[in-house]
Symmetry: C2
Subunit: 122 residues, 2 copies
Amino acid sequence: MESNHVNGNCCDDQYHPSAPEKTADLPPLDEEEAIELADLYKLFADSTRLRIIIALLGVEMCVIHLAERIGMSQSAVSHQLRQLRQARLVRCRREGQLAYYSLMDEHVSSMIQLGLEHIREE
Amino acid sequence: MESNHVNGNCCDDQYHPSAPEKTADLPPLDEEEAIELADLYKLFADSTRLRIIIALLGVEMCVIHLAERIGMSQSAVSHQLRQLRQARLVRCRREGQLAYYSLMDEHVSSMIQLGLEHIREE
DNA sequence: TGAATATATGAACAAGTACTCATATATTCA
DNA sequence: TGAATATATGAGTACTTGTTCATATATTCA
């Protein structure tokens, strides 16, 4: 009934040669932080939100214009913007009737960039 | 009924000052590519898969050991490994009864790294 | 003030998904 | 060959989530 592996003589300390240099600078993750990190990636894990983010790269845009640009309803875009706003991935600047949205920082575009590199490589 | 925004005189070409240099090197995304990119991020958008990936940083590990490490059932881990395998984020090397898993390339750890930086900044 | 426009949001519904359970496949060893 | 171990996977279920629809809030302008 007991697995051989609890004795720790199966996979421990078998470093994989392909990415050894990446190991040291990544501290281990507890479950709470894993959930927090997953929640961040969830925001990028929807094509509508991705297209909103990409539309906002370098520019700020109001909701209606954003909705027209990506071909979704105003309501759908507004719901998604709320999530991005609450996660502080975008900021909102109101001017009269309009709400201008823009990206919060460069981490966002860096993550998009890295993801794009990955899918375009293969 | 018609919005003012279709005339294009609302938000166009209003570059946002915070990240202007990031704009040029990111080509626009069509919907198909947005979906592909979202599918990639979906793989990182689950804490169990994240903990599997992080457990595999720099090392290769068999399924049972992986399951013990992150405190999930063998079945749950195997199901998630299948997704990671099909997306080519991990590779599998069989040796006897054991299946040793390791990360496919450095893009994976780079994306984890970037995400961690983001959540640890605020 | 009242109409028009822009945005936000609650409710409901449909689609996706991560887990468990049971079981199949595969390998080792007696 | 048969038992034990490791892994994979289909079915079922509970939960999450993205959309639509209706409506609320807010601002501008006549």
